[in-house]
């Protein structure tokens, strides 16, 4: 397997986890959350400060522990859930629709700015680096084999998260979330505590984002403000929308199409006259093309196929049921 393929698949698995988490908040609860990439970032940053050891001057950052990777991941996820809880407590109380989206956009930009400007936290614009081959030394792997190991790890994690989401989807909790999306008033009239239920869904989504971020940090070996941007959340939304909002199989399909196909197809675009070799001379232009295509696909699907490619799964009752004549007075 070429190194290129390995990295594509690994990234795909990580994006898959991100998209599944976003699906909880948007696909099931129905809230257009723009803070999501912030949770990925918190997960990544926290994992790094807990594994790369104490800061060497002039770098500055908090914690600076050298814990085993799995332990760091768990702490990172818990931290992310706490951040998600704070944002959710504020944003979900009274706000819906665009007001909710705007407040979450604000929240993520606050996170982004603090991460970049407040140096003592995560070393500002320099960011953190140095997470090499976590758990690699435990198994005594060399560089080459480690790539396979991490790919396997990412895929396994993705499968676990997928199975978990499948369980949640068909569970009563998942269905309750969807009643909130469909009609909140009716849900309240039938006894659902909207605020609490949405909060639980939101924190769950954030947790998955943080988990994906932890994996992402190991994949990139580093993380800094130029590695993420709040607007990148659009790529995730495209994946969820195109595949089929609310349907976890659809989400996977969406990640395959948007995350992998679109990403890779732009590599093979013909060179534009006067721009030279796109891949090497103008990597930014390449990224921009990918971005423009993704944005365009998002808008087209919103207009012509808002349910996505795969419609939401519903419970189909196969047991026979018959109509009974209504009792007369």
């Amino acid at each position: 397997m070429s190194a290129y393929l390995i990295s594509v698949l690994t990234e795909g698995a990580i994006f898959g986890i991100m998209a599944l988490g976003l699906n909880v908040i948007w696909g099931w609860s129905g809230d257009f959350d723009l803070a999501y990439y912030g949770y990925i970032a918190v997960g990544a940053y926290m994992t790094l400060v807990l594994t790369i050891g104490p800061a060497q001057a002039p770098a500055e950052y908090i914690l600076g522990q050298q814990l085993p990777y799995p332990v760091a991941v768990v702490i990172a996820v818990v931290t992310t859930m706490a951040v998600g809880l704070v944002v959710g407590l504020i944003a979900l109380r009274h706000l819906r629709g665009i007001y909710f989206s705007i407040v979450t956009l604000g929240a993520v930009y606050v996170m982004y700015v603090i991460a970049g400007q407040f140096v003592p936290l995560f070393d500002g614009y320099n960011g953190l680096s140095g997470l090499f081959d976590p758990m690699g030394d435990v198994f005594g792997l060399d560089y080459q084999s480690y790539q396979y190991f991490f790919l396997g790890l990412s895929l396994v994690m993705f499968v676990i998260v997928y199975a978990f989401m499948a369980r949640v989807s068909s569970s009563r909790f998942g269905m309750a979330l969807r009643t909130l999306r469909e009609d909140e008033r009716a849900a309240a009239a039938f006894g659902r505590d909207i605020y609490r239920l949405k909060l639980k869904g939101y924190v769950l989504g954030a947790a998955l984002g943080g988990f994906a971020g932890a994996l992402f940090a190991a994949y990139l070996t580093a993380f800094n403000p130029s590695a993420w941007s709040p607007v990148e959340v659009i790529v995730l939304y495209s994946a969820v929308l195109v595949g089929g909002r609310g349907n976890i199989r659809g989400v996977v399909l969406g990640v395959l199409i948007m995350g992998v196909l679109v990403q890779e197809s732009t590599r093979f675009l013909p060179d534009l006259p006067g721009l030279g070799q796109l891949n090497t001379d103008h990597p930014q232009v390449l990224l921009a093309m990918r971005g423009a295509i993704i944005g365009l696909v998002l808008v087209l699907f919103l207009r012509f196929r808002p349910r996505g490619l795969l419609p939401e799964r519903r419970f189909v009752d196969r047991q026979p049921a018959i109509d009974v004549a209504p009792r007369s007075a």
């Binding site: 109380r93 700015v113 495209s238 921009a288």
Partner: protein, 301 residues
């Protein structure tokens, strides 16, 4: 005391630009009930247009006109290609919000493809500073504030005195009702977008001038602050928006006085943005319909 006046002075300049951008956004929102997330891109397009024309002609006035026209055309294009169709399709405001976010992404990236992502320096000699009352201003500053005031006055004249203004107000208040009385809501909306785009495009030119450089993302960044002013003033209320812009502008300029590390001047992802959003969050949570209305808003009421 002069410290406070200085801050007030800078605040007024920032507020002027912010007010222009915010009032244009409010026009768009008022006439279509859509929060146009691509609004920032109108400013960016204006800045690029101004720069290109200025390079060719050397005239700041030509640049300003080019910026306004480019902005107007861009806004109409947004309405015609995306916002209008989505409204006719019956999409909910949230869906259109998402669509305009997608459009913003597309425009930013398209600009990067054609112009690259790097900062473009755009400097105009600001002129020697002199005292106007207690404030120390340059000729450039005077132009900015003066043009902002002039544009506002003309805009309010248009809205309150002309036939078009009446139609605009009718469509903003009740689209269906306006249709019934024979107003072509679509045409009014398109014309309003053009008007808003003229103002926003010009604001982009002025902003680029005053900051000294710009890039494909700078409109979006400024939009985030614009949103704060617009929401604080009450989405759809022009007067409230202006006041909101002034308040936000002054607060932002007051930041350097705070003992907080701060990247001065450049509208990038600096603390300005974080503070603006903190203000926004507080306003939305306390008074979601804006600072100037009385509506309390819960999920059900």
């Amino acid at each position: 005391m002069s410290e406070a006046l200085l801050t007030l002075g800078f605040g007024i300049i920032t507020a002027s630009i912010l007010a222009l951008s915010a009032v244009a956004f409010t026009l768009e929102y008022g006439v279509t009930n859509v929060a146009n997330v691509s609004h920032g891109e109108i400013l960016t397009i204006g800045a690029y247009a101004a720069y290109l024309v200025h390079q060719r002609t050397g005239s700041a006035i030509a640049a300003a006109i080019a910026a306004a026209l480019a902005g107007g055309l861009a806004a109409v294009a947004m309405y015609w290609s995306l916002i209008g169709p989505f409204i006719r399709f019956g999409a909910s405001p949230t869906v259109i919000f998402i669509a305009t976010l997608g459009m913003s992404f597309v425009i930013q990236n398209t600009l990067v493809i054609f112009f690259g992502a790097a900062n473009v320096a755009y400097t105009i000699d600001p002129g020697a500073p002199r005292y106007v009352g207690p404030f120390l201003v340059t000729a450039l500053d005077e132009q900015i504030v003066a043009s902002a005031i002039a544009i506002t006055v003309v805009l309010f004249f248009i809205i309150s005195r002309t036939k078009f203004g009446k139609a605009l107000r009718a469509v903003s208040q009740n689209r269906e009702l306006a249709r019934v009385t024979g107003i072509n809501a679509t045409r009014v909306a398109a014309a309003t977008y053009f008007l808003a785009g003229l103002i926003a495009g010009y604001a982009g030119f002025v902003l680029a001038e005053s900051v000294g450089s710009f890039n494909p993302y700078f409109g979006f960044m400024f939009f985030l602050i614009t949103l704060t002013a617009a929401v604080a003033g009450g989405l759809g209320k022009a007067v409230g928006t202006m006041v909101g812009a002034v308040i936000v502008g002054i607060i932002l300029e007051a930041l350097p006085a705070l003992p907080v590390p701060f990247v001065g001047g450049y509208i990038s992802a600096s603390y300005n943005l974080a503070v603006a959003f903190a203000i926004l969050a507080v306003v939305i949570l306390v008074r979601p319909r804006g600072l100037f209305t009385n509506a309390r808003r819960t999920v059900f009421e």
